[in-house]
Amino acid sequence: MDSLLNTVESELLTPNQMSLSLLESAIDLFGARTIDFGEVFVQSINYESLSLEDGRVKAGSFSQNSGFGVRAISGEKTGFSYCDGIDANSLINSAKTAASIARRGGGIKRENYSKTKFLPKYAPVDPLISMTDKQKANILLKIDQDARGADPRVEEVSASLTSSFEHMLVMSSDGVLAADIRPLVRLSVSVIAVEGNKRERGNAGGGGRYSLDRLLSSESPSRFAREAVRMAGVNLRAKPAPAGRMQVVLGPGWPGVLLHEAVGHGLEGDFNRKGSSTFSGRVGEKVASPLCTVVDDGTLFDCRGSLSIDDEGTPTQRNTLIENGVLKNYMQDKLNSGLMNVPKTGNGRRESYACLPMPRMTNTFLEAGKSDPSEILNSMDKGVYAVNFGGGSVDITSGSFVFSATEAYFVERGEIKYPIKGATLTGSGPEVMRNISMIGNDLQLDSGVGVCGKQGQSVPVGVGQPTLKIDEIVVGGTQTGS
């Protein structure tokens, strides 16, 4: 940990003629006001993207972003000021600005700083330099070859390889001094296949918090290429989707977007402190079928949604949100846990120094059940089996959520009949969670592609679930009354 902090210091502070004692003096400026909590967050992110199109790797971008955000909290009030670039003068000015949220006098209670201890959840490797640029380009070319080789109907292949390398350091008046080094890589493949006058897309991808060589030395690139082609092929055969309420079985892994939308957002501490979530004030109540145990776990090694510490310096943890259908816990950051007088849960995240932290999910999933996946499918009378999704969204106040299938099948008497065109599924979170009647023993996390947006801030997340059956949910196809 000491060496991690030293590395981050020498990356973020030293080259900009800054030091930890300068950050301390910025927080000390809050002393002239009635402030409960003061914080300085410093960050740099290097980002690189290479992409392939028309069989050539011909687009690439690199960015180097750095800056800081200063935050002062007084009761329910927050003052916040951020700057692109890291320099001492701007830091002091920003601290004064943030402090203006509170009245003069009173003073801040400042704890002695101690370095946060935690177990790293990923290695501090720079993915951008983990392999040569030539090697990166060759992987993309191989994907093009594999995809076109897999099916002659493939007309367009695009693929991109992105890596980012982040250094962050946070110091706050509650005595926290913490730093982290975070790698993140992602490979995405998209193909268009054509048959007659039908054109369909297929996508695949994955990644996590590790170096590029690990992502690329595995079978993954070829697997993603074949997977994208397979999906496009399935969709070329797809018929219009049915419309109305019916049984739906969701496959394992990425369909866990269900949990993220149907319950995840509604269990974030800020909405619940303000009483604006459909789950507000319901801890201890039954909010899902007794088969359901939902967990948010930021500690899974190398996963896309994982963090060693959150962006407030709190070590992440495994939080059981719903246990056997009963609501146990909300996800919290410092502001909301303080105001609600409950423990922090390590869910305080921010897109960057330019945004305020909020309670956010990390890796959210449904625990495995007892059923065999084939038994679940066999139990279906008539309905939809959906295995891939584009994404979803939720209105946390009414509880309404949607998520859109990109690969789904019509099933009758336990038998897959034919693929259907992408349909949106919709329902009210608590209602749909009560309608879950079977849960498989095949828990899987997604392959590492999720991005979650909230109030304009995007953060990487993971989702997961085993195969599960929902007795009734609205399927938004075009075939009404079928």
């Binding site: 790797v57 180097q64 938004g476």
Partner: protein, 444 residues
């Protein structure tokens, strides 16, 4: 509190010159630079007191270097001399690693503006946080006055941003444009025994004089939240669907994606090769007016440094032009339409009807006031989205509805537009009135 535009304008010009010259001096054949500097003040209040006070300070520099037909793009949040130098070297490394594309290259210099056009986009407003707080409190109070039993304020906000955006390239064109953007907004949660509903409203403008009155914004947000209470599920079946202007705007954004040059050359569009074909009803026209003074989408040059112009993309229902950037135009063997970076102030026009008329035309069906989810496939036009809104019975709004989906195919939906409203919403870059769809599948 805010920067001095005049002084900073000179600084940004210097950064542009340094980057262009620096790029050429390390051997680049062509250089393109974008710089931006923003400062913003944003406050939000909740239940009578300040919740957040935020001050932002943004700096960005993006440089693209071209070595022959190879290209490298880099960006940074610093534009001191040392950063520029590092960045240029990185761009060179990157472009030499990448493969050639015969269509890369700057737009010809003669397509760039020959003179600066005054767009009147910069109108300072509030500079003191205290004034912003006062206004936000006014918004909140106005909303609550509608019904203080059923309503809880979730937030009321005021935001003002001042920007300087500069562009320059090695063909000799450069410009730095000052602008401002102000907005006031409000969110309410309405609660009755059977559940809660939220809705919001906002006003946004370059010139503060063009913002709606603060209390009007608060009242509209409150009215909308209350109207959503006690939702029922609509019947499943095929019904006429009226898209409120905010939802109609998203519908036309799918048209823009489908006719953008990149979707055309990637053959990833349900409107592939449809030039000169009818894709909308014959009374409908879609055009853009990027040069409109004080407008939110206003710009006299695009992201390629090409002068913008008033394009017509659809005339009498017929697709007359794709939305083209310098690159996508070259790929398709066409001329750029000045749409590098997208469309600006796109407007849908035609004979219009009042909402009352439109509801009468529906008879029995659905008014959609908000859409959710990503169920839109630009490749094949399949459309299936979650929605909430109102049930229409006997030509009048009957009650709130939610948890339903509307589905169809965009090709058919566009041709099947029955009528449009007289309620053009100018808050969006894609400005549309209400759009009435003849029939869509509603599932619930």
């Amino acid at each position: 509190m805010f920067f001095d535009s005049q002084k900073l304008k000179t600084d940004l010009m210097t950064v542009i010159t340094k980057s262009v010259d620096g790029g050429l001096s390390i051997g680049a054949d062509e250089v393109e630079v974008t710089v931006a500097r923003d400062q913003g003040l944003e406050v939000s209040v909740r239940r009578g007191s300040v919740e957040n006070l935020q001050l932002s300070n943004d700096i960005s520099l993006s440089v693209t270097l071209l070595f022959g037909k190879r290209k490298g793009s880099v960006s940074s949040t610093n534009f001191d001399d040392r950063s520029i130098k590092t960045l240029l070297a990185k761009a060179k490394d990157l472009s030499l690693l990448l493969q050639e594309d015969p269509y890369y290259g700057l737009a010809p210099g003669e397509l760039s503006p020959q003179k600066i056009i005054e767009m009147d986009l910069d109108h300072p407003w509030i500079t003191e946080p205290g004034d912003a707080v006062e206004m936000a409190l006014t918004i909140e109070r106005a909303g609550l006055s509608l019904d203080d039993r059923l309503l809880k304020s979730d937030s009321a906000g005021v935001s003002t941003i001042k920007s300087l955006v500069g562009y320059g390239n090695s063909n000799g064109f450069s410009a730095v444009v000052p602008s401002s953007r102000h907005s006031i907004s409000s969110v309410f949660v309405a609660e009755q025994t059977d559940g809660m509903q939220r809705d919001h409203w906002y006003s946004v403008a370059r010139d503060p004089d063009e913002l709606s009155e603060a209390d009007e914004v608060g009242r509209e947000a409150a009215r909308r939240s209350l109207a959503k209470l006690n939702p029922q599920r609509p019947d499943s079946g095929v019904f006429p669907v009226l898209f409120a202007p905010n939802c109609a705007s998203s519908l036309i954004s799918h048209f823009v994606s489908a006719v953008s040059g990149s979707s055309q050359f990637k053959k990833a569009s349900f409107l592939l090769n449809k030039i000169d074909q009818r894709i909308f009803p014959e009374w409908l026209t879609i055009m853009e007016s990027p040069l409109e003074p004080r407008s939110l989408g206003g710009a006299f040059f695009d992201a390629d440094g090409v002068q913008t112009r008033n394009n017509k993309f659809v005339i009498d229902g017929v697709l007359t032009s794709y939305v083209l950037s310098n690159y996508s135009a070259k790929r398709l063997g066409l001329a750029t339409t000045g749409n590098g970076g997208g469309v600006r102030n796109l407007t849908l026009t035609g004979p219009s009807f009042s909402q009352k008329d439109l509801l009468r035309q529906i008879g029995r069906g659905v008014l959609v006031s908000s859409l959710m989810g990503q169920g839109v496939n630009i490749v094949n036009g399949d459309y299936s989205r979650g929605a909430s809104g109102f049930w229409v019975e006997n030509g009048e709004i009957s009650h709130a509805i939610d948890n339903f989906t509307i589905a169809g195919n965009l090709s058919e939906m566009f041709l099947g537009i029955q009528a449009i409203g007289d309620d053009l919403d100018k808050r969006f870059n894609i400005r549309t009135p209400s759009i009435l769809m003849g029939s869509m599948a509603v599932a619930s």
